[in-house]
């Protein structure tokens, strides 16, 4: 069983403002120390030096064009686009605008960077006239007479047949060599049995294979 809470003894509250009423005035009456006098010039000089160092270098006449401050060289050509880019970036803050920009970018890349069907399809040709067809047939006939093949028309063409060797030639066993060995060709100096001696050492014991 918890004992009953005891009341604090009557008396001044330690945090009461009436206790030590003059303490605040006693504290406030103490004169605070000023900063050392030598700090003033040092701090102000260093602050001014830091400010001048953070500014751009001394401006010359080349930095201005018609009285207007010239942009850095790398942005000079893109200066007219800067306001447009700023507006674009400002509008890109919303998600819908970002999505629209992504679609536009994808469309532009698809349109200008990747060849599409318009480039790959054969161009449509106008139909041949009767006179042109007669001329073509006449030239085909003349060509056939010249080659003794008759008229060459597309229906006469057949796909090329695959050449097949005779059945006996398909055997993996090669034909027998003649019994008499063939005379070996005389190899030039430095070549031994399909190998060439190393030119740097000229050692016959360490041949390198011919690649």
């Amino acid at each position: 069983m918890k004992p009953p809470r005891q009341r604090p003894p009557p008396g001044p509250d330690p945090g009461d403002a009436t206790d030590l009423p003059g303490l605040e005035s006693l504290l406030a009456s103490q004169r605070l120390r000023p900063p050392p006098a030598e700090w003033r010039e040092s701090i102000l000089r260093r602050a001014a030096a830091s400010a001048s160092a953070s500014e751009p270098a001394t401006e010359t006449s080349r930095d201005r064009v018609n009285g207007q401050r010239r942009h850095p060289e790398s942005f000079h050509g893109a200066a007219p686009a800067i306001p447009w880019l700023q507006r674009l970036v400002a509008h890109l803050s919303s998600g819908w605008s970002l999505t629209a920009a992504a679609w536009i970018l994808a469309f532009a890349l698809n349109q200008y960077s990747i060849p599409r069907g318009a480039f790959t399809a054969a161009p449509r040709q106008p139909p041949f006239s009767e006179a042109a067809l007669a001329e073509i047939r006449e030239s085909q006939r003349a060509l056939g007479d010249f080659a003794n093949l008759g008229a060459v028309i597309p229906s006469d063409f057949h796909p090329p047949q695959t050449h097949r060797a005779p059945p006996d030639a398909a055997s993996p066993v090669p034909p027998a060599l003649p019994s008499e060995p063939r005379p070996r060709a005389r190899l030039p100096r430095g070549f031994r049995d399909g190998h060439v001696a190393r030119s740097d050492t000229n050692s016959p014991h360490e041949p390198e294979p011919i690649v």
């Binding site: 003059g22 605040e24 103490q30 102000l44 602050a47 400010a51 953070s54």
Partner: protein
């Protein structure tokens, strides 16, 4: 910034900023560094004072923020902030009267035992004469927090300074 403006700002506010910093950091080296940083920012970015009505309050707020950063950096070098507060640094002007000098030392020792945030509130209330509303604005804390920090600080100072108080009464 117009020429001479930085000098005028220093003459008008450097003493208050110095006293606040010295009481808050208890380190003269840090105080100088932070004061230098304040005026370097003012010189390099003079536009930050455009539209500021209470320049003293603005500078105190800037100073406090820089001091908090400095204390955090220093806390990594030293053990605790209490150890920093134990440093013997004089925030009051040297007193030629020996009795008054003793009073100063005892007050300084009692102030050094307070947490830095309570010292900051005490400094702004007693020596800058700011209201709790203004103190809350400078330190970036709620109004009730500023008032309670002041009350806690005085609650600690009263028993600590009671012998001195009774002696000089």
């Amino acid at each position: 910034m117009p020429p001479g403006e930085l000098d005028r700002l220093y003459d008008d506010h450097a003493s208050a900023l110095f006293a606040f910093l010295l009481n808050f950091t208890r380190d003269e080296s840090d105080t100088r560094d932070i004061l230098q940083e304040v005026f370097t920012r003012l010189a390099s970015r003079p536009h930050i004072l455009q539209g500021v009505v209470d320049v003293r309050g603005f500078l105190l707020r800037l100073t406090h923020n820089l001091a908090v950063d400095a204390i955090r950096r220093r806390a990594s070098r030293r053990r605790t902030q209490d150890a920093m507060a134990q440093e013997a640094v004089s925030i009051f002007e040297p007193e030629p009267n020996p009795d008054q000098a003793i009073v100063q030392r005892q007050i300084e020792a009692a102030l050094a035992e307070l947490p830095p945030e309570q010292r900051a509130v005490l400094q702004l209330k007693l020596w800058e004469g700011l209201t709790f509303d203004a103190i809350a604005d400078v330190l970036g804390i709620p109004l009730n927090t500023a008032a309670s920090r002041y009350r806690y600080a005085m609650d600690k100072l009263r028993p600590r300074l009671r012998p001195l108080y009774d002696e000089i009464r």
